[in-house]
């Protein structure tokens, strides 16, 4: 068997992609640090029990055994390890954390998906005010401006919106779950079959329209005016309207949409959810929301928390596809000219030192790099 083959779902990153990815991670990290977030790093390996609340969907976890025979996993998520950290230390709250690192999720074999993904994100723990969500929304706007040429659309949702409506409709838990799942997955033929038993109810028109209740907030709110919404539903819509009004005031150019038929990213979400996407990307670039019960998985006391994950691989894909490469300048010099070459390097934007041992090889190196050669060995520099 060849010993130089990658395992399925992994890749080496080098050259332009590696440079762009590092740039994306640096911009994100610097932005968080500048706003007073504290860096946190957690291990790649965690006990499997840490991820009990985590729903993997179609993915699986990489599992292995530690010396005690306990199952440990390569982390598939970054939020739960931070919750584990907070519950096991005496860190005083509130705290604002940021992180960047790799997560591991085994996707369907030979599907073209990668199993090792890089994610950055923030966790604002101990903040019950809506200001924590606003901080995340501002950061989506700020980071998308810093990193992308195109606008990112922010999509807002409410984690328990479906639960509220379906609880008013029926006490049958299995039916509620089946309707919710078919709604989230927009399996419309199945969804319409399941709700057909409620055609005599006043909510039926709303139910029929529900899978399409996403997009421009003004249009969706106009549609909602045609339905008889219960008090709990109306309360949630009013909260959403407040957030949209705030966004219009603080970030007037930000494109905002809502989705009243989407599933919260994880079952532990409790309040406002938000995602960010661009017209060109193949997935969500930003995803987060409020999860006030997260720490309850590890301790008796709950804590207010808001978090957001950022898909660094997807941001990198967008930038690699778009950005233009600047031509490098390759500086060729003799060993005794090292100090002089260092000085020239400092004053040459996009300059790199050639470590070739003769001019001929330096010329070949420049050709390979598509770089302009600066030859320091000929007295006056020839560019």
């Amino acid at each position: 068997m060849n010993n130089n083959l990658l395992s399925l779902g992994t890749r080496d990153e080098f050259g332009r992609r590696a440079v762009v990815k590092q740039h994306v991670a640096s911009v994100i990290g610097d932005t968080f640090s500048d706003r007073g977030f504290a860096k946190i790093s957690t291990p790649l390996l965690e006990k499997q029990s840490v991820f009990e609340p985590y729903k993997l969907g179609n993915y699986q976890m990489y599992r292995l055994l530690d010396q005690e025979g306990d199952t440990i996993v390569l982390r598939p998520d970054m939020t739960l390890p931070i919750a584990r950290f907070l519950s096991s230390t005496n860190i005083s709250l509130p705290q604002k954390f940021w992180y960047v690192g790799d997560i591991f999720r085994i996707s369907r074999r030979l599907s073209g998906s990668y199993n090792e993904l890089t994610q950055a994100g923030i966790e604002l723990v101990g903040y019950s005010s809506i200001k924590a969500e606003f901080e995340c929304l501002v950061l989506i706007n700020l980071l998308s401006q810093k990193l992308l040429d195109e606008p990112v659309e922010i999509e807002l949702g409410i984690a328990d919106f479906a639960e509220v409506i379906l609880s008013e409709l029926t006490d049958d838990e299995a039916l509620k779950q089946a309707i919710a799942q078919s709604l989230y997955d927009k399996q419309v033929p199945l969804y319409e079959e399941l709700i057909s038993q409620f055609k005599d109810r006043s909510e039926f028109q709303f139910l029929m329209n529900w899978p399409r209740l996403f997009g421009d907030p003004a249009k969706i709110f106009d549609q909602l005016a045609n339905f008889n919404l219960s008090k709990p539903m109306q309360n949630r819509i009013d909260e959403l309207k407040k957030v949209i009004a705030w966004l219009k005031q603080i970030l007037p150019n930000q494109v905002v949409s809502i989705d009243l038929s989407s599933k919260a990213p994880q079952q532990y979400y409790t309040g406002l959810t938000f995602k960010g996407f661009s017209k060109a990307g193949s997935g969500y670039l930003f995803s987060g929301g409020r999860y006030d019960k997260l720490l309850a998985n590890f301790q008796d006391v709950s804590e207010s928390a808001v978090g957001m994950g950022i898909n660094i691989d997807l941001l990198t894909d967008l930038l690699v596809n778009k950005s233009q490469t600047k031509q490098k300048k390759l500086i060729y010099f003799q060993e005794e000219q090292w100090c002089e070459a260092e000085e020239l390097l400092k004053n040459t934007p996009d300059g790199i030192l050639s470590l070739s041992d003769n001019l001929e090889n330096a010329k070949l190196e420049a050709e390979k790099l598509d770089a302009q050669l600066i030859d320091m060995t000929e007295g006056e520099y020839i560019e």
Binding site: N58, R108, S111, E153, Q187, P189
Partner: protein
């Protein structure tokens, strides 16, 4: 127009033949697909669509990876490949059903671990799981009917439209499983990025399907 085209992956073969008349009734020009020769990808000259012809399982892969915005494919393949994209419309064509079939002497109650031949291991496993039975599944790529006839398997799980092929091979149907039909599936992100264009396409087809149902009634 290229960047704004909606990419539609259509399952080639029987699904393609059944869907083209529906698309044409919906006002979508399919002349290029009808005159395709050996080509597999077509940009409409008059409408903002690109059609891709692919095998059913590949349609799900194109959708998953965002290489297609819309896919038209059988629900058997969507289930087997654990589709996670939006299934917006049933097209009321390609109707058939999964069956458990075997030779006349097959005993479904026989006290043994059965060997089942199928193109659909996941659906087969789910079916026998629901019966509380553990079976050995052999993946077969085509002519599944051969499996019990040659002694390769005790029985098969396969789809049938009328049961003719099963009967002609002297096999008997022992149980009926899930029904199958052709579905229109949409990539999750594409629906958020191009909702108007995608819903326009879906609604045109939906109107045709509903009118056809009224005509059939």
């Amino acid at each position: 127009m290229n960047e704004n085209r909606i990419k539609i992956a259509l399952t080639k073969g029987r699904v393609e033949k059944q869907v083209i008349p529906l698309l044409e009734e919906a006002g979508i020009n399919c002349d290029q697909i009808r005159n395709k020769q050996r080509r597999l990808i077509f940009n409409s000259e008059t409408q903002p669509y690109q059609f891709i012809l692919a095998k059913g399982p590949d349609v799900t892969t194109f959708l998953e990876r965002g290489a297609a915005d819309i896919g038209i494919v059988g629900s058997d393949i969507l289930t087997e490949h654990q589709n996670s994209q939006y299934e917006l419309l049933g097209l009321n064509i390609g109707k058939c059903q999964f069956v458990l079939a075997s030779t006349q002497d097959f005993d479904p109650e026989a006290p043994k671990r059965k060997i089942i031949g199928t193109k659909y291991p996941l659906i087969t496993k789910r079916y026998f799981d629901s019966l509380g039975q553990d079976v050995e599944i052999i993946k077969i790529e085509g002519s599944v009917e051969l499996a019990p006839l040659t002694g390769l398997a005790d029985a098969i799980v396969d789809i049938t439209e009328t049961g003719t092929t099963i009967r002609e091979n002297h096999l008997k149907i022992f149980d009926y499983l899930d029904k199958v039909s052709t579905r229109l599936v949409v990539n999750r992100m594409a629906l958020k990025q191009h909702p108007d264009a995608i819903f326009d396409f879906v609604d045109r087809l939906k109107t045709v399907i509903e009118n056809n149902k009224v005509g059939q009634a």
